[in-house]
């Protein structure tokens, strides 16, 4: 199964003669703590023991596991590919066993080399407020600029956050996305490790984006990070998460839960660039609560993985709250990007905006799934949704499934979607100006997503353009 999936990629690389091995490296695994494969209550106890967690977390995990076992797979609406996940073949916990490191010098050379290959230049680190680099499932390196610490910003791993700052994090942990939300949020609640817990105090405006790099580095190993970001009243923060993963022989499972809380007047941006290797099941639950006059923006870009299912949502809980989802998906051969957005309006004068653009290449399939809910007796709520899909090859596929419920006279929603292919005229124009067909196609696709890519921070938009170029070159001809 997975070898089949990998073949087209290998072929592509051969045809193009591009160095596709750049992200395809791994170092000898030295896992002091390894829960083995399979999932049972014993696995939970093992994880809790290793992490030396308080009883309430252990209890929380056990309950979540029961919920996970009791929930059916959502295959009545989702891809049947989910049935290919064999839960008993997955490793649920794996870590280097050390506590998160405080200074760069303590990080091992092998790990440093990995980050080097991921392209985090030394200079950039100065500008980044803090780099939370996730290696396997435990944060191995965590460094925050002193200035941030002085302002009272907490930026730690999930375990540390729950153990050392329960008064802040316990209140919201599992509240935005309850354990029983779906089968995979329950799975995450049972076996989570890694991820970032962030608290930004009242009125603090974090100038530089907070950033975490994630990596998967063991075969058959699922990563279940848990992120909780709380932006207190009037604060501002931007969080960036980017992933690359080495290629493996058998499918791995990635099932994260990300909870955001924006208190009154806070501004929170969460940026993801997802580029897992093409054997990863990426089943992520992301949701935010926006209180009065708060703004939450998800910027979500999906390039990698075998199957991604991810629908970032915002619950607009306070008056004048605003939610936004900007989504780019690129589905290459054998990939299915099943992405979208959810906007739950729960207060007057709340507004939401969804812009989604997807590109399907080769036998790739991209799906937009959306939910907009404006329930009873609200006034002045507005939603705008735009989805555009571009199909590159005749074997490409795209689907759009929005669901919109509006009640009452004070609200409005509009949804528009289109599906098209690259304009032959554009390609002709560029070709007669001397560009090759591949270059022309690539330029055209970059133009299609350009207005969204521009909303990413600089380093991401550069990386995105490069990734699109790479993917495109493989599919034209």
């Amino acid at each position: 199964m997975s070898t089949e999936l990998l073949e087209p990629i290998a072929d592509q690389a051969a045809q193009l003669d591009i160095d596709r091995t750049a992200g395809n490296f791994s170092y000898p695994e030295q896992h002091k703590f390894d829960a083995g494969t399979g999932l049972s209550h014993a696995t939970i106890d093992y994880i809790s023991d290793v992490k030396n967690e308080p009883d309430w977390i252990r209890e929380f995990r056990h309950k979540a596991l029961d919920v996970f076992f009791s929930k059916p797979m959502p295959t009545h609406w989702a891809s049947k590919d989910l049935e290919n996940i064999i839960f008993q073949k997955i490793r649920y916990y794996l870590a280097n066993g050390q506590k998160p490191k405080r200074s760069w010098d303590e990080v091992t050379d092998a790990e440093k080399r990995t980050f080097e290959r991921l392209g985090i230049p030394e200079q950039e680190r100065k500008f980044l407020a803090g780099v939370e680099a996730q290696f396997d499932s435990e944060a191995v390196y965590s460094n925050m600029k002193k200035a941030l610490g002085d302002e009272g910003v907490i930026f730690v791993g999930s375990t540390e956050g729950l153990k050392e700052h329960p008064e802040i994090f316990r209140k919201w942990f599992g509240k935005v996305i309850p354990t029983g939300d779906n089968k995979f949020s329950a799975l995450n609640a049972a076996v989570f490790s890694g991820g970032s817990f962030i608290y930004v105090p009242k009125g603090v405006k974090v100038k530089h984006p907070l950033q975490a790099y994630f990596r998967i580095n063991a075969e058959n190993f699922g990563q279940f990070e848990r992120t909780l970001i709380i932006a207190d009243e009037g604060s501002e923060v931007m969080y960036m998460e980017g992933c690359t993963a080495p290629k493996f022989e058998t499918a791995t499972l990635h099932s994260a839960v990300v909870e955001l809380v924006a208190m009154k007047g806070a501004k929170l941006q969460y940026i993801t660039v997802q580029n897992w290797s093409a054997n990863v099941f990426n089943l992520v639950t992301k949701r935010a609560i926006a209180h009065e006059e708060a703004e939450v923006k998800w910027i979500d870009c999906n390039i990698g993985s075998r199957l991604t299912m991810k629908y970032p949502g915002v619950v607009l809980k306070g008056r004048k709250a605003r939610g936004e989802v900007i989504s780019i998906a690129l589905a290459g051969d054998g990939q299915h990007q099943d992405t979208g957005a959810k906007m739950i309006h729960a207060a007057d004068e709340t507004t939401s905006n969804i812009v989604s653009k997807s590109i399907s290449l080769g036998k790739g399939r991209s799906t937009y799934r959306g939910l907009v809910h404006i329930p009873k007796h609200l006034k002045g709520c507005k939603n705008n949704t735009e989805c555009d899909a571009l199909l590159i090859n005749s074997t490409s596929r795209t689907d759009t499934y929005p669901a919109i419920t509006v009640r009452g006279t004070g609200n409005s929603s509009q949804h528009e979607a289109s599906v098209s292919q690259i304009s032959a005229e554009q390609i002709f124009y560029m070709q007669q100006r001397g560009l090759t067909k591949a270059q022309a196609m690539s330029l055209s696709v970059n133009g299609f997503v350009n207005d969204l890519v521009r909303q990413f921070p600089m380093e991401y938009s550069v990386e995105l353009k490069r990734l699109i170029d790479l993917e495109m070159e493989g599919s034209v001809g």
Binding site: H76, W77, I374, K376, H377, A389, L391, I392, N393, S394, T395, S396, R397, T398, D399, T400, Y401, P402, A403, I404, T405, V406, R407, G408, T409, G410, N411, S412, S413, Q414, H415, E416, A417, S418, V419, S420, Q421
Partner: protein, 443 residues
């Protein structure tokens, strides 16, 4: 009655009051054996299929409890004394090529106006008669496509219970200028009716058919209507359904339209009545150059629910489809629209459009929309849109400033909103008829 047809044991039937064909009393239509066997099979399918549940994607947003069939039984014939009154109420267009009327699925009248329907070899007859005399056409076309959008069980019930309706066969090249009308009346408490319309338009023919679904009184009733519209190469079919059942009626409309090469089908549904209305419309674009227009006007009030599901299947290249559904919602009524454009892998040069617009007139009204796309070909142009909003205050202000009272101004805006759909009909008198019915509702 044929003794070889086995009766299902009453205990296994979840709806004991809706009897299988073979248990019918002497009053029931005597369909020939080939058709009765088919109805028996459909009945078995009906008893085996489960009722829809809330988690079925095709029943998303719906209230599955609203489609409880237990209060209904097959309708009895109406009293002879009522026939004349009903005929007098079966008024539609001023000029038609012919009129048929049914009450509780029994023929009231069939009238030829002029010679067009007789002279040109057109077959226009009650379905009952066609089942007996046109076996080949019935076997080829009757409910061939099946229900694809969630009502398989109700489709099977219709097939097993169908008694009458309209059968229309238009031979090659024949154009019938004037519309053909058909009235379907439902009478009696708990009456279940299963009207069927089948239109077979041979290549290069042209025809317009109007169906009216109405209730005699205010009794709760069930109407499961189905229609098959088969449009041959280069043919043109216009079909209009005017649904004005009473507020106690559970109404289904299951449509299948098949569009061949260079053919075009235009269907418009006006939904004014019903307690819970479920409409499933499927257009199969099967030949290159084919085009299907799917239109709907819905005005709801009180606690009405109108639940519409659509599917535009592009099976051949160079086909076009255009869907426009408009809903104006009053009081605590609800509408549901879920639509899908599906483009098969080889259906290149598809041009598909889908638009649903909801106008919410009260705070209690709720509009659910789920327009969908599934595209497997790359050289296509497919777009869809869904909007939900309220009456534009600027438009209202303009009318008020011209001295028009508020209520009248609101009616005007709503009428203008819905009338945009009627304007898509290529037939002026038909437009006029729909506008009259709309005015009657809104005033």
């Amino acid at each position: 009655m044929n003794a070889t047809v086995e009766l299902p044991a009453p205990a296994s039937i979840s709806l004991p009051d809706i009897c299988p064909v073979s248990e019918a009393g002497p009053d029931f239509a005597e369909h020939p054996e080939y058709f009765r066997a088919r109805q028996q099979a459909a009945w078995e399918k009906f008893t085996q299929l489960p009722m829809p549940v809330r988690t079925d994607e095709n029943w998303r947003f719906s209230d599955v409890k609203a489609v409880d069939l237990s209060p209904f039984q097959r309708a009895d014939a109406i009293a002879d004394a009522d026939r004349a009154a009903l005929l007098a109420r079966s008024i539609g267009l001023a000029e038609t090529a012919g009129r048929m009327a049914f009450a509780n699925d029994r023929l009231l009248t069939q009238e030829f106006h002029g010679d067009t329907l007789r002279a040109k070899g057109v077959l226009w007859m009650p379905l009952e008669q066609a089942i007996a005399t046109q076996r080949e056409l019935i076997e080829k076309h009757f409910m061939r496509e099946g229900a694809l959008l969630g009502s398989q069980k109700f489709g099977a019930l219709h097939e097993s219970q169908v008694r009458n309706g309209t059968f229309l066969y238009v031979p090659r090249g024949v154009e019938i200028a004037l519309p053909i009308e058909c009235f379907h009346w439902s009478q009696g408490e708990g009456a279940a009716n299963f009207p069927h319309t089948i239109i077979i338009a041979e290549p290069m023919s042209k025809v317009t058919v109007v169906d009216y679904f109405q209730s005699v009184g205010e009794d709760p009733a069930l109407v499961i209507g189905a229609n098959d519209i088969i449009v041959g190469d280069g043919a043109k079919v216009t079909y209009v359904a005017v649904q004005q059942c009473n507020r106690q009626t559970l109404a289904f409309r299951l449509n299948n339209t098949v569009v061949s090469r260079d053919a075009s089908a235009l269907a418009l549904v006006l939904n004014l009545g019903g307690r819970y209305v479920r409409s499933e419309a499927v257009s199969h674009l099967r030949g290159p150059g084919g085009r299907s227009d799917m239109l709907s006007i819905t005005s709801t009030e009180g606690s009405q629910w109108v639940d519409q599901r659509t599917l535009q299947i592009h099976e051949a290249p160079n086909t076009a489809s255009d869907l426009l559904y408009k809903n104006a919602l009053n009081d605590q009524s609800r509408t549901i629209f879920t639509g899908l454009i599906r483009v098969d892998p080889d259906a290149h040069k598809t041009d598909a459009y889908q638009k649903v617009r909801n106008l919410l007139l009260t705070d209690e009204a709720e509009a659910n929309s789920a327009p969908g796309l599934e595209i497997e070909a790359d050289d296509v142009r497919c777009t869809h849109g869904a909007t939900s909003g309220q009456v534009d205050t600027e438009e209202l202000f303009y009318l008020l400033s011209r001295g028009i009272p508020l209520r009248a101004a609101q009616r005007l805006v709503v009428f203008g909103f819905l009338n945009e759909v009627t304007e898509r009909l290529p037939n002026e008198p038909l437009q006029e008829l729909l506008r009259d019915r709309l005015h009657a509702r809104l005033d």
